[in-house]
Symmetry: C2
Subunit: 532 residues, 2 copies
Amino acid sequence: MANDPNKHQHKVGGRAAGCVQRVTVHRPSLENNTADAERLIESLKPQLNSRCVSIDFSVLRQLPELLRDSGHLVRCAMLKTDACWQVAGIKGGADPSPMAGLAVDLGTTRVVLQLIDLESGQVLSETAFDNPQLKIAPDILARIHYCEQPRGLRHLQALIVDGLNDAVARLCAAQELNATDIFLTAVAGNTAMAHLFMGLDPRWIIREPYIPAVNRPDPVKPAELGLSTNPAGRVIVFPNIGSYFGGDLIAGILCSGLDSRETPAILVDVGTNAEVVVGNRDWLMACAGAAGPALESGVASIGMMAGPGAIDRVTIHLPDRRFELHTIGDQPPRGICGSGVIDLAAQLFLAGMLDIRGKFIPENCGQRLYKDENGIDHLVLAPAEASASGTALTISQPDIDSLIRSKAAMYTILETITASVGMRLEELDKFYIAGTFGSFINPASAIALGMLPDLPLERYEAIGNSSLGGARQVLQSPDGLEKIERIRSRITYLELNVNQEFMNRFSAAKFLPHTDTARFPSIRLHGDRVRL
Amino acid sequence: MANDPNKHQHKVGGRAAGCVQRVTVHRPSLENNTADAERLIESLKPQLNSRCVSIDFSVLRQLPELLRDSGHLVRCAMLKTDACWQVAGIKGGADPSPMAGLAVDLGTTRVVLQLIDLESGQVLSETAFDNPQLKIAPDILARIHYCEQPRGLRHLQALIVDGLNDAVARLCAAQELNATDIFLTAVAGNTAMAHLFMGLDPRWIIREPYIPAVNRPDPVKPAELGLSTNPAGRVIVFPNIGSYFGGDLIAGILCSGLDSRETPAILVDVGTNAEVVVGNRDWLMACAGAAGPALESGVASIGMMAGPGAIDRVTIHLPDRRFELHTIGDQPPRGICGSGVIDLAAQLFLAGMLDIRGKFIPENCGQRLYKDENGIDHLVLAPAEASASGTALTISQPDIDSLIRSKAAMYTILETITASVGMRLEELDKFYIAGTFGSFINPASAIALGMLPDLPLERYEAIGNSSLGGARQVLQSPDGLEKIERIRSRITYLELNVNQEFMNRFSAAKFLPHTDTARFPSIRLHGDRVRL
């Protein structure tokens, strides 16, 4: 993704698909002495097939001179809200500089930006930075509490806005553009981050009954937020469904195309929570649940985020159960990331080293297994001499138990939301996995563990940073805002009640791959072990 | 007017007629956990009977705290554009401070402001100041040329905006308000002044084919203009029809109520030009023409604007033709204002001292008449010892000739526009006269001169500063903007071609009261003199 920013973007058609309209404005005469603004509007209306077009005040200020200097041929950056179009930027028709857009994935931890050519829809460049609010607090809850201090909210807002302005300056410098060449910005983030970015009081988001300041923010002028982009332009902040279903997920749905499919599919985004949406072009059912930190980086002492030295792929070769560890950047192993843990557990299970309860099978683990002073089993992945730190990398039975609870929670969430719409998981035509987790995970391993359903592998599709992708799509199509609102208005949010039925499903899913082995026909069991 | 600002305002009904909505917002719960903004919108919709309500971003920032502090009872300053409502300001329901509006008559020479209570529609106070752009140039043409200098436009804009901010500070201080208590501002001015105020390039207004930057400006945020009023609020700048028919005249139509009458009426505003509108609720026909400076203050050496010491009423008592001069402020006479000149000429005519060509009749003028070294006749109004300056106040034959050309131009314009819609002047049910000219003129005198048609006196109505009045009305009714646009869209502008027919009418009107005396039945002539 980071190296080929255009890789995952949906196909964009010709000029009509972009957010820029080229228009030849009627020249004035004594017979047609309508004002400049109204002549531009009248020239745009038939092109847009709309009766409602208005012009930003900053555009108005440039208009008389620009029309006459450009021979009445201009390019307009257009934004469509409801049934009305807004001219949110203007340049001469022959001016070679692009009219740019900025797509932003506003993560709690990491912020990713793409600069887009609004006319062609092409990605011009991409950059990312750590959310500067991390220095106030790593987690969103603590940041919201920080807002209760005098000027706390303003401080957090300034941090993120300054960070964005710095990143914009870098992106633009590399492309020989100015920040004022950016007319439209689309920002997708969770509900709390969106509030902090807009300087809206987030304190009621975390207090019962969990109320955001706004669900559907109108497009905002950059100056209202302190952004350095063109003052005539607009900042689109993705809407939310509530405190726990943010604009990042709506962007994810847009990016996956779930909302325009005929047959139902599923979208999973795994972060601190697992967020899941099932649906098609007619309906969307969403839920979120704690699937445990084990799925991202939280496994015991050796867990780490995907990065250089992280074990991301594990193969255990039979019959001698030789371990082959792959690390990111082919460096000596420093730890293990989420996809590595899933690979490891699946390979341990498939190699007969874990039983269906997820317990180490000593006779198959051999010398790799040892008990510590507390009697807890540990399995050595890499001996001290092979690791980056000079300390052996090991995984413990409690680590595996924790992973199994996480995978069981994930499967239970998937089963519950699918059942809520009267479907079985096997009926899902497509299974989109968003985020870095989706990009690195080996679906076959997740299936072997019973974390993901036993669908044909071709149904699984990693869609990368879907929050960024959704933000970008809004800038690539003039009806982007309408698509977002159509998605938002069709989502039904399913509260996951942890009731007896949920607990029964969870208990059944705590086995490898599941107590109901018929659900995983590709995994053949013999007794409590995989048939080797 | 200045002493009783509520005198001329149209009746405003109860709360529903104002631009403030009091609303009780649904309290949030786990069942209704919609965001604050959307709950406010849902609470407003049934009250406004509208499906389209949006909230200004600045309001959004205050909303979570304000809703909870005010027990969910708030007051909203509302603006309706097209079919959509905008919340352009908010205060707690129990907060005793008013939500204010500002009506502005943005004159080329003088700027008049009224502070309005947006909830009751009452005028709170009024002030005025000389347009600070006068120090750059007294006339609008020179100011537009000044805009071609670097930063010329910015300078002119800053002058008027600073002047307004100073006046707002004075108005607010007197009422113990803050500028941020003002949420809506309505500004009526001619097309060029509106451009200078908005910082829009006016240079094409005065060059063929005479194109404004905009005809219908959208409401603007105060910060875009540099105004100190509440940043959540809006500034409504009246639309124009073109370079020569500005928002001040549209405000005048609104103020007169011409646009809601069943039977046709006429509105006349006399300034540098005479601007005339004939119409009713179905159609409006407008024109403007030079009626000569004599009608305002330009009569010869003793002409002056209405002010202390200006002769504003003249009576000539028969049979001895004794002059009774009334001055503004009952001070010794310093000069004569427009209404005084018209009174004077009418009284001279009615006293047999002017013939039907407007020439002095020496035998009836007696010792007041003398010839100067060039053989030009002068009539003494006040001898040296009675005048403020110690110099005699006199009026010359050329002064009278000039007045007669002006009155003939005025009558010809009235006759032409009325004829253009197939009517005669006598058919007009109502004759509104705007401006200070209208407030001071004695219609009987204007009729005697044949400047105004010989209608029953009760049909004449002085409506004062109709530009200010129209601006105020926009702030007194939630559908003000729609009314303005309805007026604007229905106006037909009549280009006054100075053709043979116009010249024939003009020639016929250059007599006192007219060559066709049947049109002035109340003035009885005997030969070329009034029957005494």
